[in-house]
């Protein structure tokens, strides 16, 4: 199987700090892969480089055979990479529908007018929201749902989720996992950063683990989570 995403020697330095240090991994089409690691290990920075929010200091990123590292975020969105944010980012002065239409109008879907509104309402329904409310008035959970609807509006071939399932109660978690599974069944490839191991086990066949910016382990999720080095990295994190 050919890789949809290939990350090779990816490195990011912030001044003297090397947040990501020579990371290499692949994600195949249709897969759901977890990107794991203790706090500050560089997971979000990796997603930021894939989505174009940050330029890598070194290394390369290939998406569907095309080199994309250093491309502008709006170009990357338009080739089919969508993301959510670890710290939720909604558009507070826009309506829920407009929040989603924004991604429909300027992304791959290229929809506008009534067509875009209907599609936005369908996506809002999919994540369990109703249009008509103002985005600023949403609860935290609903803001996360809105972010998901907006990410889906980009018609992603690769969806990057940064702790999208964190902060949910057990019922919401079950709904959230079911939603991600439905997205995967629809043919979208998912790379997700997550601290909740139950969710990782339920969703991801394969996991990539980072520690201090480097690749610590990679393989089938069950094996990786049983790996002594991985357990130690996470236990060490408890004190942090």
């Amino acid at each position: 199987m050919s890789a949809l995403l290939t990350v090779d020697g990816l490195t990011k330095r912030f001044g003297g700090l090397t947040a990501v240090d020579g990371m290499s991994f692949e994600v195949s089409e249709g897969e759901t892969v977890a990107l794991l690691g203790p706090n500050g290990s560089g997971k979000t920075t990796v997603l930021n480089m894939i989505s174009g929010a940050l330029d890598p200091s070194a290394g390369s990123i290939f998406f569907d055979g095309e080199r994309i590292d250093g491309d502008r975020p709006h170009d990357i969105a338009n080739i089919g990479i969508s993301r959510t944010f670890q710290l939720v980012r909604i558009l507070p002065s826009l309506s829920l529908r407009e929040n989603v239409v924004a991604a429909l109008a300027f992304g791959r879907a290229d929809l506008w007018g009534g067509e875009a509104e209907r599609e936005a309402d369908r996506l809002l329904g999919l994540v369990g929201l109703r249009s008509g409310v103002r985005a600023a008035d949403l609860t935290y959970l609903d803001q996360k749902r809105l972010e998901m609807a907006r990410a889906l509006a980009g018609r992603p071939r690769l969806l990057l989720l940064d702790e999208w399932l964190s902060g949910l109660n057990p019922t919401e978690m079950r709904e959230g996992i079911a939603l991600v599974r439905r997205i995967v069944d629809g043919g979208t490839t998912v790379l997700l950063v997550e601290h909740i191991m139950d969710a990782v086990r339920a969703l991801c066949s394969r996991s990539v683990v980072m520690k201090a910016g480097t690749l610590l382990a990679e393989g089938p999720t069950a094996d990786v989570l049983a790996d002594a080095a991985v357990i130690e990295a996470y236990l060490g994190d408890v004190h942090a």
């Binding site: 929010a53 944010f85 924004a102 300027f106």
Partner: protein, 314 residues
């Protein structure tokens, strides 16, 4: 449905059509007030086309106004009037393109200061050019254009500005501007080419501001940089748009009309304290009405609407 959607441009054209009768009946003083009012409406509305939704406060208005007036001053003896206006619009668009590109990576207070600095630079460059190259600092404008002709042209430009604003708001670009104003990171990840949208809208806004300066140039008769690049021209539209609500299409007009009349009265009654009073009004507006009058109305509407919402949501 259709007729409601087009209510705004129809209303704008109808109002402009009615006001078009006024210049024939007003005396010189009345026409002067009308020109001042229309100028305020155009500058505030055109300024808010870009700065309203994005929140980028530009202080370059005087630069565009001055470039417009100066184009007329330079060309008035050699080129037919309609062509002068077209030339002014093109030059204004080009200047805005360079200012837009130069300030692309700046946000917040840096953008504010930079646009102000750049517009001072445009003034200095023109002064230098006139003194050292052409050897004429001041220029005379002798055009057979009367004040009422200027009032009519400004009326047309005001209507054009409002209709352009209406078109932008309905367009994808209008949504892009609001998304950029809320969160540029999200905007980029939605697929919006932020640089392109910003430079484009800055250019549309600046072209309208330039035309305002060009149309009013014949009123000065004698033009020199200190007159047409007056920095007050950069501040007034900001205050007016903020008072009315810069994010709404009609807000800047609602702010421009009372403030123009207030400033007119202040400068006539207290000419020495005028600048201080201007600053005081600015501070009061920013503190008391951060969202402008239209924002106040919107909040008030939302509050009365949210009374019904709980049971609906249950």
């Amino acid at each position: 449905m259709m007729s409601r959607a087009f209510l705004f441009p129809i209303a704008v054209i109808a109002v402009a059509g009615c006001l078009a009768f006024l210049p024939s009946y007003l005396d010189d003083y009345g026409i002067g007030i009308m020109i001042g009012l229309l100028n305020a409406v155009i500058l505030a509305t055109a300024w808010a086309l870009f700065s309203g939704p994005t929140g980028y406060i530009s202080l370059a208005t005087a630069a565009f106004f001055g470039v417009g007036a100066y184009t007329v001053a330079v060309l008035n003896e050699s080129v037919p009037y309609p062509l002068i206006l077209i030339a002014a619009a093109i030059i204004g668009a080009l200047v805005s393109l360079s200012i837009g590109l130069a300030t692309l990576r700046l946000a917040g207070i840096y953008f504010v200061i930079f646009t102000f600095g750049l517009s001072e630079m445009v003034r200095q460059m023109i002064t230098w050019f006139e003194v050292n190259i052409t050897g004429t600092l001041g220029r005379y404008i002798f055009l057979p254009i009367e004040p009422r002709h200027i009032a009519w042209q400004l009326l047309g430009l005001a209507a054009l500005t409002l209709v352009v604003g209406w078109l932008i708001r309905r367009s994808k670009t209008g949504l892009a501007l609001r998304v950029i104003g809320d969160d540029e990171v999200v905007a980029a990840h939605c697929g919006i080419n932020i640089a392109r949208v910003k430079v484009l809208l800055f250019g549309v806004s600046a072209t309208l501001l330039t035309l305002a300066g060009a149309i009013q140039a014949p009123r000065y008769v004698y033009v020199e940089p200190a007159i047409v690049f007056n920095p007050t021209l950069s501040f007034l539209p900001v205050i007016m748009a903020l008072l009315g609500g810069a994010r709404s299409l009609i807000g800047p007009t609602l702010g421009a009309i009372p403030l123009f009349l207030l400033f007119e009265w202040l400068s006539a009654s207290y000419p020495n304290a005028y600048s201080i009073l201007l600053g005081a009004v600015f501070i009061v507006i920013v503190y008391a009405l951060p969202q402008g009058v239209t924002g106040l109305i919107r909040r008030w509407r939302e509050r009365s609407a949210s009374v019904v919402q709980p049971e609906e949501a249950a």
